[in-house]
């Protein structure tokens, strides 16, 4: 048998009270293969992974590992079968060394004592680290490593448990492009070592690069498996959403009108230098650049969260000083922040609370609450954004990522902004919700709203923007009109100061 099949999940079914999360899903993984699992949020990917990891048990179906039927009822069972899940949020102890993290809870001890044998621990760690040619040592503190390096520690920790099946859940979501390359190099090394990898990601371009096969599931059903060199984005998207998305990017380009925002010679902190640009009503101004180029920092300055050291900001041709987000809101500026979880959501509160928290003035006077007005505002933006929620009282933390993002956007639309800054508007959002967010952005610019869109996804920037400002290392390095937008040109400006 040349094709060594590591894992087979056959006809898996899982029902939760009220929801059929998985009906008859099958999946197979070969040794030395990267097999991507693709599907919209809520399609059942994480349920399937949790069944494999022993967090849930399936209602029907079987799991076959190395040709033998395996029962995985608890997390330890998964470990003994050589399955290891690398989660999106890393779970390392920051103040311990690399070696200490790898052997956490099973430290080698000196003979006949209970004291940790640090020498042996570091030696053992070095042995498994060496083949990967990494630029850190077993004795380095984890808190001093980059996210990508920490990820490698997690992977190596999994290997030290003799893991043969690695599950990677959105491993690149917080990595810069350079770190993604680093990760992919290491994934290739793992393939050579005959490890099987289940890879979950929303980023199509990555899947084409790293995956051998791609399995799509939708609404808890198995849709199909394709070999990555025999398929393309369009086919995969169609499989995911169940229909041909002909107009994935909705954009009707019009004539941008008058200047609504102008920034002149802005400096802030020791990083942002001499920033000048302007924004017209009725246009989408893309902001491209590498992670860490200073785009989010710039927007935080404009929005009054961080102070500026010098420079001028004009809103509708009047010079303004914006000291805090409240003043920015009063000037008609809104910011949909980069990180939904940490900068925007109140997860323990309802959809209604989350949508109206910026518009309290409209229905609360002193201690009199106009509940029907409150409900009306909520309904307006739930409908406008097409938020799928069982009720307005639903806790926002329990919605899917796409719906959470729509709630956040709805909150800011309720302030009726003239200038809307989107920082990575579609990060961690599934394809269907992405298309909806694009179409809403298009509607807004048609109404004359001016939009700034920071995005690290080049296709998104190129297809949605009227003009694109490129930043690198805290400076603006280029401004491209729509006719000139190509990936190569943007990358050229984005890397201007990186390698000097």
């Amino acid at each position: 048998m040349s094709e060594n099949i590591l894992l087979k999940m056959n006809h898996i079914r899982k029902e939760f009270p009220g929801v059929l999360a998985l009906k008859d899903v099958s999946f197979e993984l070969k040794a030395g293969e990267v097999h991507a699992l693709l599907g919209e949020n809520g399609a059942g990917k994480s349920t399937l992974i949790k069944i494999l990891g022993g967090i849930y048990s399936s209602d029907a179906g079987e799991i076959v590992i190395n040709g033998q039927v395996a029962t995985i009822d608890k997390v330890q069972d998964a470990q003994t079968h050589g399955i290891s899940v690398i989660h999106q949020e890393l779970v390392l102890v920051p103040h311990m060394t690399v070696a200490e993290n790898i052997y956490l809870g099973r430290e080698p001890t000196k003979r006949g004592s209970r004291f940790v044998d640090f020498k042996k621990m570091n030696r053992d760690a070095k042995e498994i680290l060496d083949p990967f040619n990494l630029d850190f040592k077993p004795t380095d503190l984890v808190s001093n490593l980059t996210i990508a390096q920490q990820q490698m520690v997690e992977i190596i920790k999994a290997l030290s448990f003799n893991a043969r099946i690695l599950v990677m859940d959105e491993p690149t979501s917080s990595l810069s492009e350079k770190d993604v390359d680093f990760l992919f190099d290491n994934i290739r090394k793992l393939k050579k070592a005959n490890v099987g990898i289940i890879y979950i990601s929303h980023r199509m371009s990555e899947l084409m690069q790293i995956a051998d096969r791609i399995t799509v599931i939708r609404d808890g059903e198995y849709i199909g498996t394709r070999s990555s060199n025999e398929t393309n984005n369009d086919e995969l998207i169609a499989m995911m959403v169940g229909r041909q998305l002909t107009n994935y990017y909705t954009r009707t380009f019009g004539n941008p009108q008058e200047k609504v925002l102008e920034v002149k010679n802005l400096n802030a902190g020791s990083f942002l230098k001499d920033i000048s640009f302007h924004l017209n009503s009725g246009e989408i101004l893309g902001f491209a650049g590498l992670v860490g180029a200073g785009r989010s920092e710039l927007m935080k300055c404009i929005f009054g969260i961080d102070p500026i050291t010098s420079g001028e900001i004009y809103v509708e041709n009047e010079m303004v000083t914006i000291k805090n987000p409240l003043e920015a809101t009063k000037l008609g500026i809104a910011l949909v922040p980069e990180s939904r979880k940490s900068e925007a959501l109140f997860p323990e509160q309802s959809v209604q609370y989350n949508i109206t928290i910026k518009s309290l003035d409209e229905f609360i006077k002193g201690i009199r609450v106009n509940h029907s007005k409150e409900g009306a505002i909520t309904r307006e933006y739930v409908e406008k954004m097409d938020v799928r929620t069982p009720s307005f009282n639903q806790l926002v933390g329990k919605l899917s990522g796409g719906n959470q993002q729509k709630v956040v956007v709805g909150r800011w639309l309720a302030t009726k902004p003239k200038i809307l800054i989107f920082d990575e508007p579609t990060r961690g959002v599934d394809v269907g919700a992405k298309a909806e967010i694009y179409s809403i952005m298009n509607d807004l610019v048609k109404e004359g709203v001016a939009i700034i869109m920071i995005s690290s996804e080049l296709p998104e920037v190129i297809n949605m923007s009227d003009r694109v400002v490129v930043m690198s290392n805290g400076r603006i390095t280029g401004c491209l009109p729509r006719e000139d937008l190509t990936q190569e040109k943007i990358m050229h400006y984005a890397t201007q100061f990186v390698f000097t």
Binding site: F16, P17, F303, I305, N324, P325, L326, A328, T329, L335, P337, S342, E343, A344, L345, F346, P347, E348, Q349, Y353, I357, K358, L360, D361, I364, G366, I367, R368, V369, H371, R411
Partner: protein
């Protein structure tokens, strides 16, 4: 047609119920409400005097001072903080009020205002440090707790300050139409707190800052003002409790209010407020304080020594919080 009609009527009943604050209050606090009723039922059976008017007023009077503090503590804890200084502030405001009357011959009004001012100063100090620096609330209020306790001893020389004034005694021990005055304050304070938390913008801002301070800042909420308010209110409520206690005991005592912060925290936690912030209700705290109050009253009535009462109180808190944990875990897995 009839079916359709009865359906709309049914949904009308449902919307009436779900929009009814009392219904929601019952639903949210079902667990501890049942606990409270069970406790009362048992005490009614075992003690003939438990349900007497005299005893009920007695319980409420004892619960009152704890609840003044616990209402403000609910806001502080929803904000992700804690206020350990309230017990010492009780002592300090009590001895200052007593001292101004007994030593300086000041009028009762001036003395009481001065006592309240002590609470505001402590609250403002806590609030300023907590909202403007990154020193954790636990540390800030631990310090003010010690400072205020020490200051009360220094001011009094360690001796109680006796105030033999019937009109001063009225403030904490008087009756209006048969209702003890502290209970009247209690009703006013609970109403104000509920209005703040459920009706005002400030209340929503408190939940926002407690739930996710960064998101609150991005939403244009002035986090430091919200924090400042909560600690200021907490200081003021401690002062009210301090003056009421001093009045009832005819003296300002430097030892007053020892452990009061813990009783308040216990009431808040029993009431279902999360120590990690963002979630909680005044209504829950009221029930929590009632459970603690009725529990010690009942144990007294049954003649159980106060030594054992501490043990029982501790166990009850653990059980209540554990049941809440089980409930949340069940919701989490669904």
């Amino acid at each position: 047609m009839n079916v359709a009609k009865s359906k709309t009527e049914k949904s009308k009943v449902v919307t009436f119920l779900t929009h009814n604050p009392l219904f929601n209050f019952g639903k949210e606090n079902l667990g501890i409400l049942i606990g409270l009723l069970l406790l009362s039922l048992i005490l009614t059976i075992f003690s003939p005097v438990f349900l007497s008017k005299h005893n009920i007023l007695n319980v409420l009077r004892q619960v009152a001072t704890n609840l003044y503090i616990a209402c403000a503590m609910t806001m502080v804890i929803i904000l992700g903080g804690i206020d350990l200084s309230v017990g010492s502030t009780i002592a300090m405001s009590g001895v200052v009020t007593g001292g101004l009357i007994a030593f300086d011959g000041q009028s009762i009004v001036v003395a009481v205002l001065a006592g309240l001012f002590v609470g505001l100063v402590v609250g403002a100090f806590n609030g300023f440090l907590i909202s403007r620096t990154t020193i954790p609330p636990f540390i800030v209020t631990l310090s003010t707790m010690n400072i205020m306790r020490g200051a009360s001893y220094v001011y009094t020389g360690g001796q109680p300050i006796r105030v033999m004034s019937d009109s001063f005694n009225f403030i904490g021990a008087g009756y209006v139409r048969g209702i003890p005055v502290p209970i009247i304050y209690l009703v006013i304070i609970v109403i104000i707190s509920v209005l703040i938390m459920s009706k005002s913008k400030l209340g929503r801002h408190i939940y926002a800052v407690g739930g996710n301070p960064v998101a609150a800042r991005f939403s244009g909420i002035k986090n430091n003002r919200v924090l400042f308010f909560a600690y200021l209110f907490s200081g003021l409520m401690a002062a009210v409790a301090g003056i009421v206690l001093a009045s009832r005991m005819f003296s300002g005592q430097p030892t007053a209010g020892q452990g009061a912060e813990m009783d308040a925290i216990a009431a808040v936690v029993l009431g279902g407020t999360s120590m990690s912030g963002g979630v909680g209700k005044i209504g829950g705290t009221v029930i929590g304080a009632l459970i603690i109050g009725i529990l010690s009253n009942g144990l007294n009535l049954l003649g159980i020594s106060s030594f054992w009462q501490y043990i029982v109180k501790g166990i009850v808190i653990l059980i209540a919080v554990y049941v809440d944990f089980l409930k949340k875990r069940k919701e989490g897995t669904n």
